[in-house]
Subunit: 320 residues, 2 copies
């Protein structure tokens, strides 16, 4: 096993395709392939992207109820390079239903509430995490935390990995990054999830300078690489050696950029596992992986060959 991915709040993603979807009407789904089920949650998605690159991983976190069982079965179908090691809880795993109307171009979404996680479940997770840590070369901690838990869970997970000398790659919202910063427990690689808001260390950021400034603070406190999405298809990379702006040469379909973050993380982990230790090179490979993902359909992931075709399709500019 090479990688451990942690998803504390996974979701079962469901897409239902209905033409001319309207409120207060009865709709019949035309055929079984108009209802698509797939495992979701950022850590789980990284495991899937890694499997596409031939990298075996252990996926852990919390799963529960009917939705949890469907998720784990669907995940096992995707690749035998993914080993599941989830803690089973009483409550239902999140179910995210998207009703897609391709005629009127609407997406109506219904997201179920996240589960409650009891103290004994959390202790159980720490034990499994600790055991898995000794079997892997890298940890990915990605996504949100169930509402009943606090950011301190991430602090503990990062510290446990550090104690065993296992590097952590993390993509999550500033709410948690800020706590990790304050608790002096930053992971090796930080990728803030800006989908909800452009904020880092509690500050609104919009100019390149502000991104670089915040990134540098994370580096000072122990991270070795900070990658930040900037203006949709551009990225800002900060290491102890400087800061860079990366942008594609080719035009990118903006609607395809969403959801490339998990491929980005998988790309970085892949490069790290191949022996690369220059953090800038690791970031660039993640960026290229994400760029190649923008050319794929929503649920499809790039192969290594497809990523390599994009190696010369971006421009780097040093900003500091």
């Amino acid at each position: 096993m090479k990688v451990l991915t942690v998803t504390l709040n996974p979701a079962l993603d469901r897409q239902i395709f209905i033409r001319n979807f309207q409120v207060n009407k009865l709709h019949r789904v035309a055929s079984p392939d108009h209802m698509v089920l797939s495992p979701g949650g950022k850590g789980v998605n990284v495991s899937i992207a890694l499997a596409k690159l031939g990298i075996p991983s252990i996926a852990t976190g919390f799963l529960g109820g009917y939705m949890g069982r469907i998720l784990i079965e669907e995940l096992r179908k995707i690749s035998n390079l993914i080993t599941t090691n989830f803690v089973f809880i009483k409550d239902e795993t999140r179910e995210n239903i998207a009703i897609i109307d391709e005629e009127n171009h609407t997406i109506t979404e219904i997201n179920s509430p996240g589960p409650s996680v009891e103290d004994k479940d959390l202790e159980h997770l720490y034990r499994r995490y600790s055991m898995s840590l000794s079997r892997v070369e890298a940890v990915v901690i990605s996504g949100s935390i169930p509402e009943c838990l606090r950011s301190e869970v991430y602090v503990k997970l990062v510290r446990m990995a550090k104690e065993k000398g296992v590097p952590v790659f993390m993509e999550t919202r500033d709410r948690h990054i800020k706590v990790l910063y304050e608790e002096d427990s930053l992971p090796l690689v930080v990728k803030p999830d800006f989908r909800a808001e452009y904020q880092l260390l509690g500050r609104e950021i919009s100019k390149v300078d502000e991104f670089v400034e915040a990134g540098k603070e994370l580096i000072k406190r122990g991270s070795e690489l900070v990658v930040m999405s900037y203006q949709v298809d551009k990225d800002i990379i900060v290491t102890e050696n400087g800061a860079w702006l990366v942008r594609p040469k080719c035009e990118v379909d903006v609607s395809h950029v969403l959801g490339t973050g998990d491929t980005y993380v998988a790309g970085m982990v892949y490069k790290f596992l191949s022996g690369e230790r220059d953090m800038f090179e690791i970031a660039k490979f993640g960026y290229v992986a994400a760029l190649s993902k923008t050319k794929k359909a929503k649920k499809e992931l790039p192969t290594l060959q497809e990523i390599e075709e994009f190696m010369d399709k971006f421009v780097v500019e040093r900003v500091v």
Copy 2:
């Protein structure tokens, strides 16, 4: 075991409560109890209603996929008086999602397609059905047939029961009743399901005379009791001894009448099992059971005591 219920096309019913539901918006479900799962399909519902009356039953039919497994688990939770004996198939059991907006009073429904049933599955069902027949005193065959199958399945099931001398209670649409009539294979008790259209033996019916006429034809061909819903809360009962119109003394909430059909069937079966052989008395008890159901919340069923409280709350008028 007392009763065998057959549901060829069961469904997992899901109610999702969302205030101010709108197309093209993201909705978060407020709490887990705003998402309700329950087993559905007419035969399954009769088993549940019988269990409430203390009558054990075997539920059979086809179940498949994730939805089938959720349905069977939820059914087992409801009562240990229900023994499940379904044939498992490859395709997903139907899932009927109702998005209920109590603020704007809308119900938006999404019904998934029914499964395909292969020949070997059908043969498997006939074998299980045949074995169960020798263990029961009555059979209930209720509801629709998966689209890939023809009405001849019902002909065969009724004939098999008749050969073993087991009486059949059936509620289904005219499409199937007409074939049973033509094939001279009518069950003991017929309750046409008029929810989609008021039609019997291929003819539109609206006047009392027309109901009675069609009912008599079914009696002539071998049924002993025909019960027909007429103008929402009234019923027409036809036996070899005559025809009656039954109506409630009290006012009935019309919106509560839908879905009382399964309680009606359970009531008739209950009366039959108690030794009653006067078909008019059997029909009246079914009517009273349905009447008491109209006073209950959507998914709640009446107890025997609650049914008996309605014994004097209806009026019978002989029409022939």
